[in-house]
């Protein structure tokens, strides 16, 4: 397991765990961030990341991306 910020661009990973504040976690879930779903890191912008999940592109700040563990 490693934080999303460390993922290799273009590689397909699975979400293992999502930490952080309750509110944000819930919001992420409604966007499709659930344990087990596939996630691809598309690009980095100084720690902030853009990922692809369930056919949509989501931008996430570094603080949040650090709390998403993938593997």
């Amino acid at each position: 397991m490693m934080p999303l910020t460390m993922a290799e661009a273009g590689a397909v990973n699975s979400i293992r765990r999502i930490g952080g504040k309750e509110e944000t976690r819930k919001f992420l879930k409604s966007l499709g961030f659930v344990e087990g779903s596939k996630i691809i890191l598309l690009s980095r912008h100084g720690g902030n990341v853009i990922v692809r999940i369930k056919d949509s592109r989501i931008a996430i700040s570094r603080e949040m991306a650090n709390k998403i563990l993938i593997g």
Binding site: E23, K29, S30, H45, I50, R52, K54, I58, A59, E63
Partner: protein
């Protein structure tokens, strides 16, 4: 019989396009009760009784964002006759997540799969019949952009609304979950209609306090919930979320066939360049420079500026005044009334309407950027920079718009979801020098600083610095403590902007600007005209020739002492005070007022070149600078204050925001005047020097005081218990 149909769907699913296509020009825009989320309703084209209610774009019906709460309350309490659920066909899995929740409400649902045209192109195949069976509700294919299938979809939704029997889908959750939900449903009060039992059972399971608070009594279900939680080793909400996604993916496996796609879509490829770590900022600056040049610049491509010049010089300089003049002459109205209409109303309202062309061009360009999908990228790119001083990347767009006019800027703060971040954005957006503040800078830069380049530059710098300082300082107060909400935002696929969406968006924003000119500014123009033209001469109230005797001068003299500490002394004191007051009506009034007060008879140019020598005699460099700072930062014009009130939706916050701006402006002016004066040997050491030093110290203290994390309510309660 009137029929209400709620239009629900994810953000970026084409909902707005569909709404526009269904209702055409029969739209009413308002606010949802008690909140500043925009509410749009419209009559379905070609009908009289079918009302379409556009719900805010939402990803789910959980209670975590304002939009979700608004949508949920409407669906549960106002109980529309049917829901038209628009689903993005290129992003089925995520979009159907909301659908599974809508299906539980006991309201007939029609699912309209949008972007049928795109799906056809990519070769994806969706088995509609199978999907209908799985969801247990009618499903249609549409293309909102190409307007195919939408009429039929609307008709079908109306037909559903008129049906008496409601079929609700029952999700195929895991057996253990279903059993638990059944047990919970049995505990619910009898008053709940059968069709909504499942919804309430799920909410009971999820411990959703907001929904349960509406029940007459909350059933004791904790042991049932806890036992399933421990069995599945997950919390209740996660269980439900997972079950929904499992149901959706198993459903799609049976009825959705995807063509293999290349790993990177066109949008992905564009994003690789546009959000690239090195290129993002230069591209962004180039785009903004272009927008600014076209809307507000002073070049041949600056369409907006040309429009504004024409409006000021020709429309409100010649055409309208002449027309009004001949009309008034032919009606033989008395001279005071024609004075009121010409000098008061036409001049006052005209001054504001002059900005309309620039505003419209700016809005048009911003709407295009938004419709293309670039706005979301801007917020993302700016987030890293804005986060450093406690604002979110989404705060950038309001500030960008505010360089044109603060009113739409403040209105644009709606895109900032988190309440705290939005309030901070509203409070700081007014510091950005808007178009109407430019003449103030022009007047003093010309009159006292020989148009030195650093005056105008420093004015912008002061505005931006005020935003940054406020961001950092406000964060040190408990109300604003805590990091800005983590940035999570969907980046929609890039697409060619739709003409209808862009024009409609431009018009909506432009119209609310014009409306304000017609109300607030109209009234205040009349009041100002009256105060300026009438007064007491030898104890008799009459119209005055010399405005030194006007009521306005009286007011100015009464309040001038307030500004003594920031260097407004001597002959200029009351003039500066009056100009500041009239600046509240519209900032461009400041220069006009100086023109009137210095008895300049002719037409004043924008920066008031004609009165430079007179201003120079009254002001020193330092007092001019102090006046400029105060007027750039203090309370914005009435129109912007109105916008603040509307967006804050709370009297205390409105007063707080305006009070903060005035206080901040006063403090900075005081520091600059007193300490600057001491250095330049213009001011003696006095009581206010000490005040200025204390203020500066306080400012620096707040600025550098270490930020203490986590002063939220919950944590305070916890520590209290520990004590």
């Amino acid at each position: 019989m009137a029929v209400n149909i709620a239009l629900a769907g994810n953000p970026n699913s084409g909902k707005t396009t569909l709404f526009n296509a269904l209702t055409g020009s029969n739209q009413f825009v308002g606010n949802w009760p008690g909140v500043t989320v925009e509410k749009k309703e419209g009559k379905l084209k070609g009908t009289k009784e079918v009302m379409i209610v556009d719900l805010p774009g939402i990803y789910s019906l959980s209670p975590y964002t304002l939009e979700e709460v608004v949508a949920r309350n409407y669906l549960l309490k106002d109980h529309p006759d049917a829901i038209l659920n628009i689903v993005d066909g290129t992003n089925l899995e995520r979009n159907l997540y909301l659908t599974t929740q809508l299906l539980e409400l006991g309201i007939p649902v029609l699912v309209a799969i949008n972007m049928a045209d795109v799906m056809e192109k990519t070769g994806d195949q969706l088995n509609l019949v199978q999907l209908q069976k799985e969801l247990n509700c009618p499903v249609v294919m549409i293309s909102a952009l190409k307007q195919t299938g939408i009429k039929e979809a609307a008709q079908q939704a109306v037909a559903l609304a008129n049906r008496s029997r409601i079929e609700t889908a029952y999700g195929q959750f895991d057996e253990r979950v279903e059993k638990t939900l059944e047990r919970l449903a049995a505990l619910l009060p009898q008053t709940i209609p059968a069709a909504q039992k499942r919804f309430y059972a799920i909410k009971l399971f999820e411990r959703d306090r907001k929904i349960l608070a509406d029940l007459p009594e909350i059933p004791a279900a904790e042991s049932i919930i806890a036992s399933l939680e421990s069995e599945l080793e997950e919390d209740a909400e996660s269980i439900i979320t997972n079950e929904r996604y499992l149901w959706i993916s198993s459903m799609l496996e049976r009825c959705y066939l995807r063509k293999k796609q290349s790993s990177l879509s066109v949008s992905d490829r564009i994003d690789l360049i546009v959000t690239n770590r090195w290129l993002a900022l230069p591209i962004f600056i180039a785009v903004m420079a272009l927008v600014y040049a076209v809307a507000m610049g002073n070049w041949s491509i600056s369409i907006g500026t040309h429009g504004t010049e024409w409006t000021n010089d020709v429309l409100f300089g010649e055409i309208v005044p002449n027309a009004v003049d001949s009309l008034l002459n032919s009606l033989k109205v008395s001279s005071w009334l024609s004075g009121l209409i010409q000098d008061g109303i036409v001049a006052g309202v005209g001054a504001v309407l002059g900005f309309v062309p620039q505003m419209l061009v700016l809005f048009l360009l911003l709407c295009i950027l938004e419709d293309i999908g670039y706005m979301a990228r801007i917020a993302f790119i700016m987030d890293r920079i804005f986060r450093r001083f406690g604002l979110s990347g989404k705060s950038f767009i309001p500030m960008l718009v505010a360089t044109g006019c603060g009113v739409p800027g403040i209105m644009a703060s709606r895109t900032v979801e988190q309440d705290r971040d939005r309030k901070m954005t509203i409070m700081t957006t007014g510091f950005i020098p808007c178009g109407a503040k430019m003449p103030i800078i022009g007047l003093f830069a010309g009159a006292l600083f020989e148009n030195a380049w650093w005056v105008a530059t420093s004015a912008y710098f002061i505005g931006v610095a005020a935003v940054i300082l406020s961001g950092i300082i406000l964060k040190k107060f408990r109300i604003f403590a805590g990091d800005p909400a983590p940035f999570v935002m969907e980046l929609p696929a890039y697409h060619i902007p739709s003409l209808q969406n862009v024009l409609r968006g431009t018009w909506e924003r432009g119209w609310s600007f014009i409306k304000r000119a017609g109300t607030v500014i109209l009234v205040s123009s009349i009041v100002l005209w009256f105060l300026q033209g009438y007064g007491f001469v030898d104890g008799v109230f009459q119209s005055v020739e010399d405005n030194n005797h006007s009521l306005l001068a009286l007011i100015g003299n009464t309040f001038a002492w307030v500004f003594y500490p920031i260097g407004w002394v001597g002959d200029m004191a009351w003039k500066a005070t009056v100009a500041t007051f009239t600046g509240l009506i519209a900032k461009e009034e400041v220069v006009n007022t100086f023109g009137v007060l210095y008895h300049y008879a002719g037409e004043l140019s924008e920066t008031g070149e004609e009165i430079w020598s007179l201003v120079q005699a009254d002001f020193s460099g330092l007092t001019a600078y102090s006046f400029m700072i105060f007027n750039l930062l203090c309370a914005p014009c009435f129109a912007a204050m109105g916008a603040i009130r509307r967006e804050m939706n709370n009297a205390k916050w409105t007063i707080g925001a305006i009070g903060y701006m005035c206080g901040f402006a006063y403090g900075i002016s005081l520091i600059v005047y007193q300490l600057g004066g001491l250095l330049l040997k213009e001011v003696q050491f006095n009581f206010f020097t000490i005040v200025a030093i204390i203020l500066l110290g306080g400012l620096l203290f707040l600025l550098f005081r270490p930020y203490r994390e986590g002063k939220t309510l919950e944590i305070r309660i916890k520590t209290a218990k520990r004590d």
